[in-house]
């Protein structure tokens, strides 16, 4: 059974149809990439999955359960974590503090106006684990806003991981990054996928990332599904080539 299933969702903003009758099925442990030119509706599609806004029609199922009507914040509790195209972090807090918010939320402490020593220690341990996993230990006490782009993205992923999600949704994790940083973040995603078997869905522009990481790829253009398949199938698909590079007349 698929972990995430999207059944013919459509999203219209007024007269503009941003996503048109798109379906998707992600198996447990799969790393799925969504690609397509700018404005193809990828982020809108992502926002529908994570509950940022409701679809105009269609259904979204997590683990067989219809979550179309579930609020974004509750989807997080059901095991869905995401990152954003433009890094969404708490820039004036340190890396450790950023992760702490996520860890505490995950530990169900978010309503607690006090915290005892034992819990603090537990939280600290988890934060350290996240720092190790994302190789941010050395930057732990720096303000996130002062870090390099790649480290900021790693921190954002660390926050998502701290939620112990069942599925991780990454929106252009390497957008705006240098060569080295792209490699760093791609490496992190790959380690995550390989060593924990995380189910990951990512939107990506950098084809090296996509082709090196993805198990399967779906291609969107103009809000509709253009193609779906393994990296090799997609690479060989002329329609995809055209969509990406344009056609010389």
């Amino acid at each position: 059974m698929s972990l995430l299933e999207v059944r013919s969702v459509t999203k219209a903003f007024g007269s503009l149809v941003a996503v048109n009758d798109v379906s998707l099925s992600v198996a447990p442990g799969e790393l799925r990439a969504i690609i397509g030119p700018n404005g193809a509706g990828k982020t809108t599609f992502f926002n529908l999955i994570t509950g940022f806004f409701p679809p105009t029609s269609g259904h979204i199922l997590l683990d067989g359960k219809d979550i179309t009507e579930v609020a974004a914040v509750d989807r997080v509790g059901m095991g869905m974590a995401r990152t954003f195209q433009i890094t969404e972090i708490f820039p004036e807090l340190t890396v450790r503090e950023n992760i702490r918010v996520a860890v505490e939320s995950q530990a169900g402490l978010r309503l607690r106006p006090w915290i005892n020593r034992r819990q603090t220690a537990e939280v600290d341990d988890k934060i350290d684990e996240m720092l190790v996993a994302t190789r941010l230990t050395e930057q732990a006490d720096r303000l996130v806003g002062e870090l390099s782009h790649g480290d900021q993205r790693s921190a954002e992923i660390a926050m998502a991981l701290a939620l112990k999600p069942r599925i991780l949704l990454l929106d252009e994790p390497t957008a705006g990054m240098g060569e080295q940083e792209t490699f760093q973040v791609a490496g992190l995603i790959r380690r995550l996928h390989k060593h924990t078997g995380y189910t990951i869905v990512l939107i990506e522009h950098d084809m090296r990332v996509v082709f090196n990481l993805a198990d399967r790829i779906m291609v969107l253009t103009e809000g509709t599904l253009l193609a779906e398949g393994t990296p090799d199938e997609i690479a060989a698909n002329p329609a995809v080539q055209a969509a990406y590079l344009g056609t010389a007349e």
Binding site: F84, E88, E104, R112, P113, I115, M159
Partner: protein
Amino acid sequence: MSETTIPAMADRTQQRNWLPLAAIWLVLITVPIWLPYVGGYNALASRVLVFGLAAMGLNLLLGFTGTMSFGHAAYFGLGAYGAGFVLRYWIHSTPLAMLAAILLGTAAGALFGALMAKRTGIYFAMLTIAFAQICYYVAYSWNSVTGGYDGLRGFQRAPLHFGPYIVNIRDNGVLFYYFVLAVFAICTGLMAMLLRSPLGRSFIAIRENPRRTRFLGIPVERHVWISFTISAFFTSVAGGLYALLNNFADPTALFYVISGNIVIMAVMGGMRSFWGPLIGAAVFVTLQDYISSMTVNWMSFIGMIFVAVVLFFPRGLLGFIGRRRRA
């Protein structure tokens, strides 16, 4: 909130230099000793603490949750009336008066907060004014209970009883100051604890980035509501103290001008720092007191100070200092 800010999370507060903290408490504890020498008087010091507490309470919402309220006079004023009702109609007990202040102010905060939590920005701010003004008009119109425009009068704060010991805060201004200071200390202690707790961190997270916070599984609206309620709680404590200080409660305490004053104290002092609002309140209250004795044109002076703070201290008075210390 686009400004770079001074975060106040546990990791750094723990490493913080304890000296400024000790200095603040030393100054506050010794007030009755040095105050007369600089031309002050105990009621003024109590007033500074009362408004300082109100402004710090508001700042939990404004500076640490990033949500604007123009209507905190409601919780301040209801706190004052709550205390007044108990002393006037029921029983001569200062602790019960404070309890009533807290219950009335916090309940109103929780109720109004629940009605507003889904609104944002200017709509939220205007709703806070609206609810406060409605409280104002109720207090103003309900003569038989509140005394209307003339206020609720004819009560006095009661001495405190600790078993056989009686602390006469009614007649002794110094003792009353220490009573206010004790309450202030408890409240600021609670605030500091809150800001180091997971709940407090979620508030700061909302201030920093509501969208990220939501996608960490924290229901933003509910937490804004909680923050609003807690903020109303502290402000209502201040309101209760205000009634005890004046032996009086009147609708002006609910008026939007008071809300504005509380916001201004917080902003002027530095809304991103824990103690900033207290500094703002101290500057505002003492300047107003001093200048208004010297010239009937005191409003111009206060106004010019506001303008100067905006133009020359972009982070508020304490924010400026804090910034330099960090740099």
